[in-house]
Amino acid sequence: MLKLNAETLPISRFRGGIYPRDNKERTAHKASEKAPIPQKVWLPLIQNTGLPAKIIVSIGDKVKVGTKIAEAQGNISVPVHASISGKVTDISEYNHPILPTRILTCVIESDQKDSWENNIKERDYNAFSNEELVTIIRDAGIVGLGGGAFPTHVKITPSLEKPIDTLIINGCECEPYLTADHRLMLEKSNEIAVGVKIIAKICDVKRIIIAIENNKLDAIEMMKRTIPQNDGYSVIALKTSYPQGAEKQLIKTLLNRLVPAKGLPMDVGTLVHNVATCYAVYEACRFNKPLVERLITLTGSGIKEPKNLWVRLGTPLSDVVNFCNGYTEKPAKIIFGGPMMGITQYNDEMPITKGTSGVIVLTNKEIIIQEEGPCIRCGRCIETCPMSLLPCEINNFVKKRDFAKAKSYNVLDCIECGSCAYGCPAKIKLVHAFKFAKNEIRLL
């Protein structure tokens, strides 16, 4: 057992939160495997927060793994690369696992050779200047792999007005069921450490904190062994609670700094990166390897053999499910992401994208569809809201379509973590109401 001593303890805690059963035991002890290379991939041209990429190949073009197929448009955008070698067979609009509209998607059919671009090979990343490193990270198409999918190069570009003094590496993985980050820390700790060093160098930070929830003691130990606790580096074990991994809550817990409402971590001199992002940064800088695959957890009672899998981007979910021996029974819900914030799917044909941290398949047994009851003003939603909002009151405004009032009660600050709905005894669909309200307010 790992002992928690004073210097590994956080200095504060975040307000609210919940303690759901984490259900991680299905995959936490399973070493990652490589999923077979799919016959066909569907690569949406937008897999990041921000602007879509612009297609630069045409139907019939031959591509290798790592061939750039779409170029970034504007600053908050990243390129997309072919994740298998073969031929571009279609460029048209397809459904997207996360976005509500059809998105231009590049379809590649495999030539079974898995040949990679020639320039993807080992090199000395120490020779690069900071500017060159940022360019490498952007050209590799790297986005935040925790689920937010915000372009990484934008976050690490140093800002003169807002200097960063602390880099937080997020290994919390507070969503139940998911274990991909956990396995990554166990299996690729050295690579993550290099990625962290590269980001720390670019941002010129003096203090680097690797934060991991204490339901992953082996990962904490592994990261402590890999990263010496000196030179400003520390590995901190955090009490397991949801949403500990949310950026603002993590900064509050570790540094007792409050990111201003509607502000960014950089407003309080902090930068947060997910462990998987650090790994991708390492691969980009060391091998010139663009983001063409990622580690996901495919789990849930609906999956016969849950696994942590390295999946090529664009692989349709059905292929990955087949590799896990299929479904145990007819699935009731397929969720891209965690069970607290993930997006449900209409079918299992959707491609794995850069932001997919896992896929959860739930059966009818786990799904309780309950009718909404009346709000009894018990205040549980208020006590658990990590953003100090009044979910039940906002819901009343949304019900009356009073979006101006909902806005004045800060519905736009809602991080959609789901803590309120999780604990609501009346089973009121609070997050549903807030997503609706946010959308309506944006359309106003």
Partner: protein
């Protein structure tokens, strides 16, 4: 690939997050409160005899019955199994003298459930506590019946203090201002419940057992009871009263009110800060009524008054958004 066809031909559930929920429900909370009130109910049978059980059963039956009838007549879903009407029935009975005429709980429950709760929209929409509002209604309608009908407890009136028979400790205090009521034998009997009073209010210890259960399960918060009882204690030390804080805490309906009625979710403030204010307000009004009001006891009116102030308290205690 049969799997894929299965999924393609069947409908998946699509919904907004989250996709997992805690197992808490309104029904579970309500029935837990019912369970928490049981020790005090059994205590009342022990101290006053089976009549208390009869009054309580009548009160529950008519609360549930009138709720069912109203929901049926108004064409709404019958939700009597959620336990909220049962609680109203028990709490109303707990606020009645043991020897009250048997039609009183029936009228009271009807008023509580139909007028106070359902006419305002049902569970979650009533702005005052239904049981307490019904008690107030009964008090103004039949004051004579509501302030007599006390039964002597098992061991005679207030063992250790038997100067008069068949009254409540607070009315004795108000009438006779006898400081021997502060003596330990009296206080001990107040805590145990061996004294005159309403059906469910007498035994502090049995009420506290139930309250502890609710606190541990997280179904009530400590804030309102602590603020309420704490302010009664402090005020009984600083205001001109002959009686000790012990007497003020255990002699009337304070324990029942503070843990089971002031904590009613629907009619109390929703924010932590507001709950403190609400509790203190209840304490202040209770003591003002006890010391200078026309009634010996002020718990129910203090809670009713603070119920009415709840929307205002909520408005002025909105928490600041994270980072705001």
């Amino acid at each position: 690939m049969t799997n894929n066809q299965d999924v393609a031909t069947k409908q998946l559930i699509v919904s907004a997050s989250p996709h997992i929920y805690s197992n808490i429900s309104i029904t579970r909370i309500m029935w837990s409160v019912v369970i928490a009130l049981m020790p005090a109910l059994f205590g009342s049978v022990y101290f006053f005899g089976f009549r208390t059980l009869l009054v309580t059963a009548l009160s529950i039956a008519s609360a549930v019955g009138f709720e069912a009838l109203f929901l049926k007549l108004s064409g709404r879903k019958i939700t009597i199994l959620d336990g909220s009407a049962v609680i109203t029935g028990i709490l109303l009975a707990f606020n009645l003298p043991p020897a009250v005429p048997l039609w009183i709980p029936v009228i009271g429950s009807a008023f509580a459930v139909v007028i106070v709760k359902q006419l305002f929209g049902g569970l979650g929409y009533n702005f005052v506590n239904p049981a307490l509002a019904a008690r107030a209604f009964l008090m103004v309608s039949w004051p004579q019946l509501m302030t007599s009908g006390w039964l002597a407890p098992k061991s005679g009136y207030l063992a250790g203090y038997d100067a008069i028979s068949q009254a409540t400790p607070l009315s004795a205090a108000k009438l006779f201002k006898d400081i021997s009521l502060n003596s330990w034998p009296v206080i001990k009997n107040l805590i145990i419940g061996n004294r005159g009073g309403c059906i469910g209010e007498t035994s502090a210890i049995l009420l506290l057992i139930g309250a502890t259960y609710l606190l541990i399960r997280g179904f009530i918060s400590y804030r309102i009871p602590v603020a309420y009882i704490g302010s009664v204690v402090i005020l009984s030390l600083i205001l001109p009263t002959k009686f000790s804080p012990f007497f003020h805490v255990f002699s009337g309906g304070l324990i029942l009110g503070a843990f089971f009625m002031a904590t009613d979710y629907v009619t109390s403030p929703i924010n932590a800060k507001g709950q403190w204010i609400f509790g203190i307000g209840c304490g202040v009004i209770t003591m003002l009524i006890r010391l200078w009001g026309g009634y010996p006891e002020g718990v129910s009116y203090s809670i009713l008054l603070m119920n009415v102030a709840t929307p205002l308290i909520d408005r002025y205690t909105r928490p600041k958004v994270f980072g705001g």
